[in-house]
Amino acid sequence: MKKLASILLLASISAFTFSQGHLTKTAYVSFYSKMEDVKAENFSGTSELNTETGELLFSFAIQSFKFENATMQQHFNEADVMNSKEFPKAKFVGLIINNADVKYTVDSEYPITVKGELTIKDKTNTIETKGMIKVEGGKIYSSATFTLDRFEYGVKGKAQSISQVLDLTVKAEYEKI
């Protein structure tokens, strides 16, 4: 009897935790370089948000970044810049520090602070940034704008025509899983 109770308890805990998961396969990220007015956009990211724990994940395929200029796009993927053949994805694994302040069942906009590990190529650094969670009609949206020093991730390349510090924008619209 005790065993059955434990199994039921575990099952209900897992079901509760699972129900807090929200996923999207169309997350957006862009970066902008002021120096040359260059922008690249990626509309194919995967992101998962656990509203219970505040865990936030993003994964983006490097070759899904689109530039207006084809030569720049090719150069961006090359071995001495993003090396996208060897490292096809960039990933962020983090936590919404003030997750307790977000009422995921009440429509509003909630300022958040996110801290986590960003991995680009084979370099991982801890980043902390401000962002926003928007709850509207039962849907959850996340967004953040922050800067990134590409040299910290070994993204250099031969040409120094792109700013060292890039402006990044990330946004996602989640579906409950």
Binding site: Q63, S64, Q74
Partner: protein, 152 residues
């Protein structure tokens, strides 16, 4: 003065030629995916298993260093029809063998054809490989392969 005339004209011509070649390379158009050759054609199961079972070999086979990766055609059953932040239609073909599939972001001119499709339909889509399917330990789940600039 005359002896410098021809070398000067030659140097100017060379400069203009080099500038033309440089500008032509810098402003070259993006690859025309629809008229480029299709590398291979298979079932979504085959493509998925290549990346899950032999990821390094599959990366070497399908991904190009400059990002102009292989164009492949895949047949499978539609499991999801979605729209991204650019209002592009995104279709997922699910593998029958794995808990994962391949996700195609369609070109803008494919919307009309996409509107005729629904979840459960079997279809063939061609696209540029951007990343293969994988199991991601942080997500605790399989992530679909990603294909861009897709068309029917």
């Amino acid at each position: 003065m005359k002896k410098f005339k021809y070398p000067a004209i030659g140097a100017i011509c060379l400069f203009i030629l080099a500038l033309g070649i440089g500008l032509n390379i810098y402003y070259q158009p993006h690859r025309d995916v629809k008229s480029a050759p299709v590398f291979d054609e298979f079932d979504v199961d085959d493509f998925t298993s290549e990346f899950l079972e032999y990821p390094e070999k599959a990366k070497e086979k399908y991904l190009a260093e400059n990002g102009e990766s292989k164009i492949v055609s895949m047949t499978g059953t539609i499991s999801e029809i979605d729209t991204n932040f650019n209002s592009d239609i995104v279709i997922t073909l699910k593998s029958t063998k794995y808990e994962v599939g391949a996700r195609f972001t369609l070109m803008e001119d494919q919307k009309e054809k996409a509107a005729e499709l629904k979840v459960g339909d079997k279809t063939k889509i061609t696209g540029v490989v951007s990343a293969g399917a994988e199991f991601d330990e942080d997500f605790g789940r399989y992530l679909d392969a990603i294909l861009e600039q897709a068309y029917f």
